[in-house]
Symmetry: C2
Subunit: 303 residues, 2 copies
């Protein structure tokens, strides 16, 4: 079952030489989730030929323009394409007013319902759940209210071992319960422990998104052990003071978070426009946490 992250943009603030502001598309099975929506996101979605009608929800980290100014245009384009399914939008307080004001004054009417959920929390809370995924929001430390998001596959059903059902004479009608962990009952009434007739499912996979934030070890508990972590790395570590002043993180610090949180893989992004060449940021991060990659527009990461 595919679980894929597509980088749509990961430059900080101003668009720069083909680098777009923050936006990512996360796809699990046939459902997609948009994470941040900087200006030009709908252009990037078209370029990457992402299926627009698969988007179930949008998760906005904070209301700085480079993370949200693409949203009014995206919503009206969804409408022009005739979308009917509801869209859920998560973000800090104010997102509803920002988007509804733009839509109203532009004289637009959306062809589908939008359900806003404004997040206020100082701990990790579940904000969204579908048949396949759970999403948690947790606070980041930035200049305005900002949230990270963790996307966790839902626990999967156990695998049935068909030969064992036959061996123990367990009716097929019990399969749904067996997949959920119930013991089997043979036609003779014997109780057969679940583990005798099933195998463990594949482990659940998880992805965490942390942008923008100052270096903050308190977020480690919220993202510990994820398979894939995106963490902002606006500057290199020689500018650690500037990073702290602006409440951003350095490449080295992002890698330290990844290491301490014992994640499988790290992606760094939200690069300052001062960096033409991003390789030094990658090199710096890898010196601390080797399994690191750059968030380059168009890159897809299988989780």
């Amino acid at each position: 079952m595919n679980f894929e992250l597509l980088i749509l943009g990961s430059n900080s603030a101003v668009p720069y030489k083909g680098r777009f502001p923050s936006a990512q598309a996360l796809t699990l099975r046939n459902s997609s989730y948009l994470i941040d929506c900087g200006e030009g996101t709908q252009i990037r979605l078209a370029e990457e030929q992402v299926k627009r009608n698969r988007f179930k929800a949008v998760f906005i980290s904070h209301l700085h323009g480079d993370h949200v100014f693409g949203l009014p245009g995206l919503l009206t384009s969804f409408s022009l394409a005739g979308r009917k399914d509801p869209l859920f939008i998560f973000g800090p307080q104010g997102i509803r007013e920002m988007i509804e004001t733009a839509i109203r004054l532009s004289g637009s009417f959306l062809s589908y319902p939008v359900e806003f959920q404004e997040i206020i929390t100082n701990k990790s809370v579940k904000v969204y759940e579908s048949e396949t995924i759970k999403v948690f929001a947790f606070p980041l430390q930035h200049r305005i209210p900002t949230y990270g998001y963790k996307f966790v596959e839902k626990e999967k059903a156990r695998h049935i071992v068909p030969e064992k059902l036959e061996l123990y004479n367990i009716p097929f009608t019990q399969i749904p319960d067996l997949r959920m962990g119930a013991d089997g009952i043979s036609v003779d009434g014997d109780v057969i422990p679940n583990r005798e007739v099933t195998r463990d499912p594949h482990p659940v996979r998880s992805y965490a998104y942390c942008s923008d934030t100052i270096y903050d070890e308190s977020l480690i508990s919220h993202i510990a052990g994820v398979d894939l972590l995106y963490h902002e790395a606006t500057f290199m570590h020689d500018l650690a003071e500037k990073a702290r002043d602006r409440m951003h993180t350095t490449s080295c610090e992002a890698a330290m978070i990844a290491k301490k949180a014992k994640v499988q893989k790290l992606i760094i992004g939200h690069f300052s426009s001062r960096y033409d060449n991003l390789e030094p940021l990658l090199h710096e991060a890898r010196s601390v946490f080797s399994n690191t990659e750059l968030a380059i527009e168009g890159t897809r990461f299988e989780i």
Copy 2:
């Protein structure tokens, strides 16, 4: 003295295969004016290497997203670049609320003053004047309040003929008055008619922007005789009914307006995404008004 129009984008509604929504940069001497500001305009300005600090004013035709959703991001980027000069923004009622809401909720503070002027008029009115240019707004007929703009060079000073000053013995101190049309007075007290010592200046040049609008002959009086006219041509004429329903114009109709208004040159744009190939729209317009060009991203028109 250069007077140049640069097409930044001219697709209708949704961005499409390298075609961006409406935006144009008009430059006269060292001053630039932005006309409409669809999503991605700041990206296009960067691609075209337009000098951002030359922009004096922004003229928004109407508040549909494909004409204005790029403005919040542009304004904050100007600020990040340290702009100090005031910026004038003209547009229909609501533009101030739309932009100020986005700026406020994004937690941004602009480094320069913005002066909004919301336009309400049913005739042509002068809305802006500088040392070199006058700008008039006039109503267009669209689904929401919409204005066209006409940019007219200010009357220029007359050219001095130096040999004649010498011939008639007119002191150089009179040059500023002579350039403004005053008669000369020789050192002997003789009055020398202005036309004896000056030549006519180059004629003033003008540009008019009409997007979006239904076919409407009442706008002809506002744009009559301009050197360059941009008129929307969303559809070809086989879709004239659809154009009328959506309050847009066909390629053929745009050319009829140009012909009746006796303009020098026509540019058509605001193309529907249904057209992959724009040549048929050009061909159709040229069959009515031969001096027509397409508004293609990156094209520059000398006025």
